[in-house]
Each structure stands twice: as structure tokens, then as C-alpha cells.
């Protein structure tokens, strides 16, 4: 399965960039991906390579500190992760190195992730991020180092599918985690980002659809770059999204992957210990985040037919609590619009980028990406349903 996208020519890359204008650093990450695509496939990292990289890095950043107990960390479909300890004098702390594989299910920018995680410290529980290697100078590929945070992504007794999708929470866990889940999203959206150091982000204008179009271009560009098998529905929905884009009334931080599986909690106290996976975050419309967590694939319908968001909290209860915590107006039409957009993005990721990774053998998780194609078809089912509902409502 080889096509021209597997070794993209520079003029094709230039044409794609021109056709789909988007944020500067999103463009940087996607362009870097294309220029590296013809390179070698992923090969497992020898244990000594990470050890040497960390030793050299900390010899420069924290002279006198010593690195030890390096081991791979499971979980995560997009980045390689290694746990290690760093000892300095009497202090000893555990960290996580997140390193990009040659390509992954989402191609993102470590500088954006670094800036935003630092900005969110103290706003919501988030791992401390002391260091970043945005160009891969030290670790061969772009990487980020965060403080290890203990916690679990699902109750010990639950049996979910891969990557936290469909995590099962008992009523007791729902009572403990559901309210926190809403409150933390509210805190993210209330955050005053204008006072933060977020130079890697392009803020969209208020009252305009420009920021929405930028997001549509971002993901249609990803489809253009990565898809192997054409799917006309993806192109149709892209045009539909452009035709129906609502202006952004209030610009907030959008986490972009806020769901069960992307936060840690203490299995004893039930307290959320960290909100994870900020790599897709951007500045945009808070409805985008709400609609993301409302995706069918992340929750379920209870016996009464009520939708339980991410398996944690009933949808109307979520909205009531969110409105209380933020004071923001919830626009149901915008929720419907972003429901379509988010399902469309998930389709692009799973049926476009994940397959492209497999074709090149570029990821440490090709077998997981192959399995996720099943989720891709669920995304299409939901996309078709939401599209029809949104069209009826518009």
C-alpha cells in the first residue's frame, strides 16, 4: 500500500499548506511530519538510547543530578512514554519522558503542549512540566518531560476497551468523579488565557468564524495528508462545517480530548490527580470541548435512555452544573454543530492518520491503531446520525 503521500514531494507539501491555512505551530508540526515521512519506520528504542539521552540532557540542564530506574510506561496511543527517577542530593523525583514516534495517530507540537500545561498549573491538576525538547535535539525526536503523577484512569474493577474508551464507572464512582469531571472542564474554560504565556497559539477573533475555519482547515489538511482510502463523506462534512460555522462568542482554552481515560484519579480518595493529554489543545469555542466529551463512543445510554457522558454523569446534569460553574450560555445549536465537527475529526484521526501510520510502520502502537479502525466505523455511524440531526435542527 504505497501512494504519493508516502514520500511527499516538496511542491505537494507547499500546495497543501497553501490550501489549508491554519495555526502557525499546527502547520509546523504537520509540515515536519510530511518532510520526515519518507524516513525509516519506527524501531523499538534500545534501553541504552533513552538512558544516554537522559544522562546527556540532565548533564546540561541539571548538572550533578543522576538518572535511574528507566522503564517503559504503558498506555497512550500516540506517544512513547518512559518513567525514570531523577536524584539530586537528597531529593529524588519520578518523571515521565513523552517522546514522539516517527508518526502517530495525532501529529502535534510539543511546544504547544509544554506552554499550555505550564499555563494550566494551579488552574486544574496537571503534571508539572519542567522541560521540553521541541526539536528533538536531545532525544532524537521532539519530547517533553513531566513529573510523574500517581493515579488510575479507570476503576480497578472496570473492564473497558482499549485507550479508556467506554470505561465503566459504577454509580459510586460516578458520584465521586462526575461532579469533578464537570468542574475541571469549567475551570479550564474560565481560565484567563490572555494573561498567560501562550506564544505558540494563535488566538481566534471573537465574534468571527475565522477560528472555526482554522480548525476545519487543520483537520481537512490532516485528511488530505494522511488518508489512503478516499471517503467522500469526510469531504462533504468539511464543506458542511464551513457552510454552517458559528461565530465564536467567547474564546477559551479548548482541551480537545477531555474525556474519561484522559484524567487520573486516586483510587482511594476518588480525587482527580491530573488532567492529561493536552497535545491537541487550542484556543476556541468551549462548546467544542463539551461536545467532545458528549461523543457517543465515550459514554452510554442508561436503562431510562439518558446519555451518561463518558460513563460519568448524565448529560443534562452535566450541562446544568457546567452552566452554574461557568456562568456561560450553552447554545444547543452550537453543541450540535461541534458534535458533528468532533465526530468528523475522530474519523479523520482513526481512518486517516492511524492507517497512514500503519502503512509506514511509523508508530510504536501499530497494532493498537489497527484495532482502533473498529472505533473509526463507530465514528462514521455517529457522524451520520449527528449530521442528520444537525441538519434537521438548522
Amino acid at each position: 500500500m504505497i501512494d504519493h503521500k508516502q514520500a511527499p514531494a516538496e511542491d505537494w507539501i507547499a500546495a497543501v499548506r497553501a490550501r489549508y491555512p491554519t495555526e502557525r505551530t499546527v502547520d509546523e508540526a504537520l509540515t515536519r511530519k510530511l518532510r520526515a515521512r519518507a524516513g525509516p519506520p519506527y524501531a523499538p528504542t534500545p534501553p541504552g538510547e533513552i538512558e544516554c539521552g537522559l544522562a546527556a540532557f540532565f548533564a546540561d540542564k541539571a548538572p550533578g543530578a543522576s538518572v535511574g530506574d528507566i522503564r517503559p510506561l504503558g498506555g497512550g496511543a500516540s506517544k512513547e512514554q518512559f518513567v525514570f527517577t531523577l536524584s539530586e542530593g537528597d531529593s529524588r523525583a519520578t518523571y515521565v519522558l513523552r517522546r514522539e514516534p516517527p508518526e502517530s495517530v495525532v501529529e502535534t507540537h510539543r511546544g504547544r503542549e509544554y506552554e499550555l500545561m505550564r499555563a494550566m498549573a494551579g488552574v486544574v491538576p496537571v503534571p508539572e512540566v519542567p522541560w521540553v525538547d521541541p526539536e528533538g535535539v536531545w532525544f532524537g525526536r521532539p519530547s517533553l518531560i513531566s513529573r510523574f503523577v500517581s493515579g488510575v484512569t479507570k476503576p480497578p474493577e472496570s473492564h473497558s476497551n482499549v485507550t479508556g474508551l467506554g470505561s465503566g464507572f459504577s454509580p459510586e464512582w460516578q458520584a465521586r468523579l462526575g461532579p469533578q469531571f464537570v468542574d475541571l472542564m469549567a475551570a479550564i474554560h474560565r481560565f484567563d488565557w490572555q494573561g498567560a504565556e501562550l506564544g505558540a497559539f494563535d488566538a481566534p477573533p471573537v465574534g468571527s468564524t475565522a477560528g472555526v475555519h482554522s480548525v476545519i482547515n487543520w483537520w481537512e489538511r490532516v485528511w488530505e495528508e494522511d488518508s489512503f482510502e478516499p471517503l467522500p463523506l469526510v469531504r462533504y462534512v468539511a464543506q458542511w462545517l464551513r457552510a454552517h460555522a458559528p461565530p465564536i462568542g467567547r474564546v477559551t482554552v479548548v482541551h480537545h480530548d477531555y474525556r474519561a481515560g484522559n484524567f487520573l484519579f486516586d483510587p482511594t480518595s476518588g480525587e482527580v490527580t491530573a488532567v492529561l493529554d493536552w497535545e491537541l489543545a487550542h484556543l476556541g469555542d468551549y462548546h467544542e470541548d463539551i461536545a467532545w466529551s458528549f461523543q457517543e463512543g465515550y459514554g452510554y445510554h442508561d436503562a431510562a435512555g439518558r446519555f451518561i457522558v463518558c460513563g460519568l454523569i448524565e448529560r443534562e446534569e452535566f450541562l446544568r452544573r457546567y452552566a452554574e460553574r461557568t456562568g456561560f450560555v450553552i447554545d444547543r445549536d452550537k453543541l450540535a454543530y461541534y458534535g458533528v465537527m468532533n465526530c468528523w475529526k475522530s474519523t479523520v484521526m482513526v481512518l486517516g492518520t492511524a492507517v497512514r501510520c500503519m502503512i509506514g510502520g511509523k508508530s510504536h502502537q501499530d497494532i493498537l491503531l489497527s484495532w482502533l479502525a473498529g472505533f473509526g466505523q463507530t465514528c462514521v455511524v455517529n457522524l451520520l446520525t449527528l449530521l442528520k440531526e444537525a441538519e434537521r435542527g438548522s
Partner: protein
């Protein structure tokens, strides 16, 4: 259909070779040997998949010729051999099936549709005209593809997805 069977097998092979193999104990000789055979078998199957249907078609015609020639020499078996040959020939395509070429042609066709939809732009009138066609065809295709990957366990309504033979047959009778 992405990922196709060959690509799935490549991912399986990669995980076995790069993750499972290093985890096997050095003195687990039998397991090492079995893994080696599994990897070689996967390579073999990946070579065979594109030609499997062509091989069946070839064999149908070759065996039919064989049976008819033999029938001329064995009058007592002629009727049975002739009927069996006809039954096989009736199901076998008349020309050599070329699965890779067919897959490429389907992909080119879908690409042409995708380009036409993308180039149609976001004019509401145009979208309203093509929307029902795009949605209807996408729903039919999605039903097949859901069935194809049902065992991954993600489907929201697995009991509502018809058997693969049924949904495939529907595409030939519509």
C-alpha cells in the same frame, strides 16, 4: 476497506517481532521456534492473499478442462464429470480476477468522488443537493464496514448489524 487484511497482518507481525520476541526468555526454545514459524507464516499469507481468489478461479477452469478430457476417455464417468465441471465453471469468473487492480480501480473511483465533493465547495444549495446522496451511500458502505470490524467490540449496536454475506449481497441486488 482500511486497514486491509494485509496491512493488519503487517501490524500483527511487527508487534510479534518487536515487542513479543524480545520478551521471550532466551531459553524458551520451543516458544522462540514457534514464533519464528508464525512470522514466516504471516509473510507467506501476505504474499498469497492478493491471489487467493484468482487461484480458485484458475483451479475451477483447470479442473473443468481436466474433467472433460478425462470424461472423453471414461464414458461411464462422463455424466458425473461433466456436471461437476459445469457447476464449477458456472461460479468461476471467465477472466483471471486481478484483485490488486480491482482494489486500485475502486480506490481511484472513490478518489474521483471525493474530489468532486471537495471541489463542489460550501454553497448551501449545492450541499443540499448532494447531501442526501452522500449520506445514503455512506450509510450503506458503513454497514458493511461495521460488520467487517465488528469483533473489535466498538460497535454501538452489534446485534443490529446484518451478517456480512447479507449486506454484501444487497449491493449486487439494488
Amino acid at each position: 476497506m482500511v486497514p486491509d487484511t494485509s496491512l493488519r497482518l503487517a501490524s500483527i507481525r511487527k508487534a510479534l517481532d518487536e515487542i513479543v520476541r524480545p520478551a521471550l526468555a532466551e531459553d524458551a526454545g520451543f516458544a522462540q521456534e514457534q514464533l519464528g514459524l508464525i512470522l514466516k507464516s504471516i509473510d507467506l499469507v501476505r504474499e498469497q492473499i492478493p491471489y487467493e481468489y484468482a487461484l480458485h478461479a484458475h483451479d475451477a477452469h483447470a479442473a473443468a478442462r481436466f474433467a472433460r478430457e478425462l470424461a472423453g476417455k471414461l464414458p461411464g464417468a462422463a455424466t458425473a464429470l461433466g456436471e461437476a465441471a459445469s457447476a464449477a465453471e458456472a461460479l468461476a469468473p471467465a477472466t483471471l480476477p486481478d484483485m490488486p487492480a480491482l482494489a486500485a480501480a475502486v480506490r481511484d473511483l472513490r478518489a474521483a468522488i471525493e474530489t468532486a465533493v471537495a471541489d463542489a465547495g460550501s454553497d448551501p444549495g449545492t450541499l443540499a443537493a448532494i447531501g442526501p446522496v452522500v449520506v445514503e451511500h455512506s450509510e450503506r458502505q458503513n454497514l458493511i464496514e461495521r460488520r467487517w470490524v465488528l469483533a473489535t467490540g466498538f460497535d454501538p449496536d452489534p446485534a443490529g448489524v446484518p451478517p456480512l454475506a447479507e449486506v454484501l449481497a444487497a449491493g449486487f441486488t439494488d
